[in-house]
Assembly symmetry: D2
Homo-oligomer: 463 residues x 4
């Protein structure tokens, strides 16, 4: 890297999963829009063809007029080569294929267990974890060997499990996980301010929050907008929209989009516990008692959120594959568009070019005093030159502490089980998930069936 | 008190709930059998007549030939007088009457929620807590005023809530809670050793354990008998008796006695999590996912434990009342009988006459590092002259950590709510109990109904 | 307060010690320069005349042309009235008079103990603490009674002791302590960057640091300027200037100004321990082994810092008194001048008008994991709407941990002793200070003599 | 091992430093006196001849009439062979020779620094540590390789450094350190009880204490004898004997024996801080401010303890060597004599044959909450089957906390420096010791001279 006045050139970014259709394009857009950085993105993917397509797409950006900086993209076929000399490592992969994801999401339905996403907790989340952990073990060992000083940014789910695995395998790693779910809740609060006060142009980043918890099960305990406490406003807002739910416009209506919701789960949790849940309803519903929001499809419909089917995901990928082809062969022109992600801002801050306060997933060193040290938690942190300094977020408030601790405990267990290949230990977490209310024998049958469907990705000595 | 050579005379014990038919007689028996102590027991009870009856019964013991020491019993009508000058305070009360207990246990059944005891967690446990907390607030204030240096031994349930209230109201109190549920599991392990190895005379106190958790939801992570690790033996034992359950003899068969069980819940939890649950099955079943063992009466029967009805309790009390009358008027002679409780041994140790290691409920000062400081936890402790020194028990193992944390969190919440009279806060714990899988509106209706049934005992400003 | 668009009107500030000649004028200047705030400053002082003089001076500012906002100043004779309705409370007092300070600083010289300031640690610091604690107890009780929700900013020394007393007496207080000593070290680093690289206009606030420790004994473990790590540069810089010391210009030469130094103590500590001490040399010298830098006046001269005599302070005050008269009667016109203090910025941030990261003295909730919880520590914090959120600073590095812990321990002891009036306990801290290398009897004689000189300010029951 | 009824046969003990003249003979005596254990002691020593001599001496014990059990002794020349299959490992070595110890103790005298022992802290302690750490690294690696499940008992000084090194190199090791210094203070308290009350036969083990701190700098915060609090008695006792000191009889008079003292240091520390220091005066004097008790030989004489010269140690060893020859060739008959050490009792307890509460040096897992986790601390622990469970000892009381923390910090530093060979880091601890009040340059010169004298034992890459 070369430091010039307020600018850093020749930044080396290794992108693991660099063949991605979606996240990779977003990063390209954000990098091209940032004047203070330039350098090279090394695209590594087990699908080399996909990486090469993205190399073409990425380099085409340099032809655009409205870019603020130039970046080189290069597909690289070896992890070693991609990592050596990297200043930053971005990880965004799909662990396994849609076939395994199909089993994660839909096999439990045979036992009456419904999941809205199936990638974080619940039966699907744990099996996905067991598949992902060996991949992250390999990545962590490679980083240890080839780029031990690089900053590592993870986007893959299950987030906490991925980040924990990195730290367990290579404790000195400088890794953190990023997720935009909290931003979504900040946006909801911004919409509320508009709705209630009529103020225009309420920016997400003006919604100041204290956030704490674990990824996809995060909670806001303080929120303000230009000095105004938003909790009393939220209480009225929840009461007003509790039955109907709240949605700004129809295009993203929950019935039309399996990622949307009417926020009813979030509102119900606020009525129960008095704190603002800060993730999408689909994730929240999975993290709590299975009888509350995911009892059966009718209950889900009442709560006005969608179950994300894997068929939907397959269709969605197909459109993105087609778009990738068009972008690569020039049929479609890349349009720069702010993603709302903060990866590039984080890189700037870690290079010392700016200060940044944002939420991030890292090991607990005390920022949440009532969770065990070492747990991967999500709170605000201050990003500065080569440092991510957590901001003290306070205790997880009672009584949600137990719900959070349950997932913390299960995630710690599944990482240990995934690394050591201890099936019995893995099962003890699986059977303890709030969605798994099955008797011992049925839980065991489900577990075995799901394991079989993902067997080839498990730790070699898994038994 | 007077210290003689290996003996202490004139020990003053205040017994709150001293009209008790049961615990009080047990204490009388244990005191009379202990040669190194003598003194006075001041019987305080809101039912003065009951205390006076026990005064008569207690003083009659001094006529027995086989007693080892003399104790004076005196009924006292004022808490102030009972406490002033006391060296030890024993608290063993029934919070409210069987009428309120009837509501605790049976009202939730209308909503499909079954409880085996209803005095610790679950809807019954929380409502009972809200009733008990103001009583313990009053007791703590009286101790602070009249006997701040006395050691306070609590036997009342909900144990953790009672002890927490004492410490919250009077942080310098020297209080701890005693419970024999762990002893029961030690006895099961002793029976196992007999069953498996044929050894006779295996004593409970020779089963050395490391125990940790919260009252009625305690876990054994290490167990040995004369240097032999008992975990491998227990694993085989569980597998052998998993379906049938294990009971030593018919007289205490679970079908005939609502306090007994065939240990099937304990065995199932071991298969799930690999640690030995150390409380009666009735308590354990209530502390976990309500669908596992308490789904409906048929499920309960399959798991071979009994639901303790309040009708049974009323009948049982009637027999004890009659016995009390007979003991007082001399129709029946008091027989000394070791209770197996350790209260008197603890008193001896606190007076410096012996060392004692036993399990006890006290605030967490780090003996369980992954539970919040101040939580009332149950672990081993070393009793010595004027000190109860907790022994480091280690972390609650994953994955049961989340289940324990859930109750820790709810109990902290309920104590805060009970003291401050914050109904909304109380409800947030109630609705978060694993047995309460109801939608918001139904949970609220149940909560209101149960509150109404116990309203006169609630904190004055409860709203 | 009234929130307008990006501005808050009618902010109420209570200034305890509002008769101050120095700090008060600085605050007036900073407030007048800040366009987003306006309101009233209530000047409370035990010297009512001084407060009235400042009322006149403060209100005259509104006649200046270059002010950005209007503030009303009003002298108030009762603490109750000054506090009631206050949004912020500023405390900046002189505990006792120069007579007592004379004894703090100079009595120990009779026993061969030299102090450079005598207001934080050392014999002088502890006696000053015993005098100050009862005053802060009174202030804390008044805040609890009259303005429990106000933010309290302390500037008085001994800083840690004052802030600790506030929290001990009123645990829910929202107080923090501000000190510019760390800024001084940032300025030194900025000067270094200029000196070494020739860069002009290096701003203190561009020197990004991680700072941790206790007030006047704070340490920098990370420092960067525009992404450049400053530690290697500082190592060379220290080696270059170790013998000569470093000073930018002659006007502030250490020989001419008892507040200045040539940074030799700071350089020597860096050579010993490899971290950057972040306070003035005068304070640092007092906090460590008394034989290192304060053995005798010759040693002090070699280390090139000054002993701040009380005579100097008296002369200095006289000039300021004269200036006050001139300002009040119009002989001298007040000139707005940025103080470099951050009090007004902190107020803005606490009102939600901006985010601010700066160093601050507050109770340890884990931001320094290897110091006890509750200790008053100095680290960075994020200031936001109604919150001061500490940033995790990491452990005090070995081997300076012991030196810091010694003062932490002594300060905790002296606060407890000062509040309870326990002379024996106070002496146990006094005799444990690194400057007090006296035998028991001599230490006792010194302690008694110093106590006598400040007796009327001690806790009433002090014995 | 074979478990019989209340007896364990074929216990395998590896003794590293098994050629010792002193400790080894004591262990032989204690083992022969314990009826419930028998087995083999493998004597390993870099001086094979010494080990062989002890093999002869040990096996001769089996000819004695009054032994309670038979033990085989066998000298083994390889660490691997000695450890493989061992159930227990005892480590008691002399790190280096008297030549290096001479430098440790006497070189600092040239700089005006006097040490009474020089094996724990002070310049001598740190240099000895740097010499010992590589030896313990080797031992830890061998235990990891050949006997990872064995319990390891360390007797070598510097105790904390040795035990820390074992855990740092092999974190799963089951090691603890034993030291009889605390017993000495219990004996002093027993003597006091005899002296004051006239009671005969006051046993050390009847003096119940709460002890906490680090080895050779341990403190008693609670002490009782048969239920009687000993602190008030100690306060009077200290006042009575403060000037004269206290010694039971002349044979062990401090002037005649460099291990004895008149307890004046202990008494002075009690007057200063109100807690009972629980180590010999020689160790205590070294751990605190160098000007208090070790200013010069005259000061030492006033405080009535001896400086243990290395010449004395050489003479003492010569007598023991001669005695060893006599024991081996039968000129002298071995006499069984209780050593007062508890090693054999600890082994019994770890085998599950008994419960034992005693003081021990192990990593802090929270037993002393205000010292960092992982620090090697000394507190009581409960020994049971295959477990050493620390008993919560509470915080190091203010104001001694800082003194203890200083050594904790230095010892952590020296272990890190010793393992990594980081000379600069080692010096930062050396220069921070309370005895080293030297300017930077003089401290550096002393450090270099002492390092040179022990250079061949340092970590290979030490620089």
């Amino acid at each position: 890297m070369n430091y010039l006045e307020n600018k850093v050139e020749d930044v080396q970014i290794a992108y693991i999963g660099g063949g991605s259709r979606g996240w990779a394009w977003g990063l390209m857009s954000d990098l091209a829009s940032e004047p203070s950085l330039s350098g090279t993105v090394r695209l590594y993917d087990i699908d080399m063809h996909a990486a090469q397509t993205n190399e073409i797409i990425g380099n085409k950006l340099n032809e655009l007029e409205n870019i603020q900086s130039h970046w080189n993209y290069t597909a690289i076929s070896s992890l070693k080569e991609a990592l050596t000399g990297a200043d930053f490592v971005v990880i965004s992969i799909l662990p396994g294929t849609f076939k395994e994801m199909y089993s994660d999401v839909h096999t439990p339905e045979k036992y009456g267990i419904y999941q809205a996403v199936g990638d974080t907790v619940g039966p699907g989340g744990y099996i996905r974890a067991l598949r992902t952990i060996p991949m992250y073990e390999e990545i962590a060992l490679a980083i240890k060997a080839y780029s031990p000083d690089a900053w590592v940014i993870n986007y893959t789910n299950p987030m906490s499990v991925c980040v924990k695995t990195l730290y367990k395998v290579f404790p000195e790693i400088k890794a953190f996980g990023c997720c935009h779910e909290v931003f979504g809740t900040q946006k909801l609060l911004a919409s509320m301010v508009k709705e209630v006060t009529g103020t225009e142009n309420v920016s997400r980043t003006d919604i100041k929050i204290n956030v704490l918890g674990i990824n996809h099960f995060t909670w806001i305990t303080e929120a303000s907008y230009k000095g105004k406490d938003l909790f009393p406003m939220y209480e009225s807002f929840v009461n007003q929209f509790y039955e109907t739910g709240f949605q700004e416009d129809e295009k993203d209506h929950w019935m039309n989009n399996s990622f949307e919701s009417a926020q009813r789960v979030k509102f119900d949790l606020f009525k129960r516990f008095g704190v603002i849940a800060a993730a999408g309803d689909r994730h929240l519903a999975e993290a709590v008692n299975g009888k509350w929001y995911l009892k059966d499809p009718e209950t889900v419909a009442e709560w006005k959120f969608g179950l994300t089917t894997v068929d939907w995901r397959i269709n969605d990928l197909n459109s993105r594959l087609e778009r990738g082809t068009r972008l690569a062969n020039g049929e479609e022109t890349f349009e720069l568009k702010e993603t709302g992600e903060e990866g590039v801002l984080q890189i700037k801050a870690l290079l010392g070019l700016t200060d940044l306060v944002t939420n991030v997933n890292i090991p607990n060193t005390g920022q949440i005093p009532n969770l065990p040290l070492g747990t991967i938690v999500e709170t605000n942190a201050l990003f500065r030159k080569d440092r991510v300094e957590p901001i003290m977020a306070g205790n997880i408030p009672n009584p949600i502490y137990g719900m959070v601790a349950t997932h913390v405990s299960n995630q710690e267990t599944i990482v240990e089980a995934g690394l050591s290949g201890n099936k019995k230990l893995a099962f003890s977490a699986f059977i303890n998930d709030p969605l798994v209310t099955l008797p011992y024998a049925e839980a065991e049958a489900l577990f075995e069936e799901m394991l079989n469907n993902t067997r080839k990705y498990l730790q070699k000595n898994f038994k």
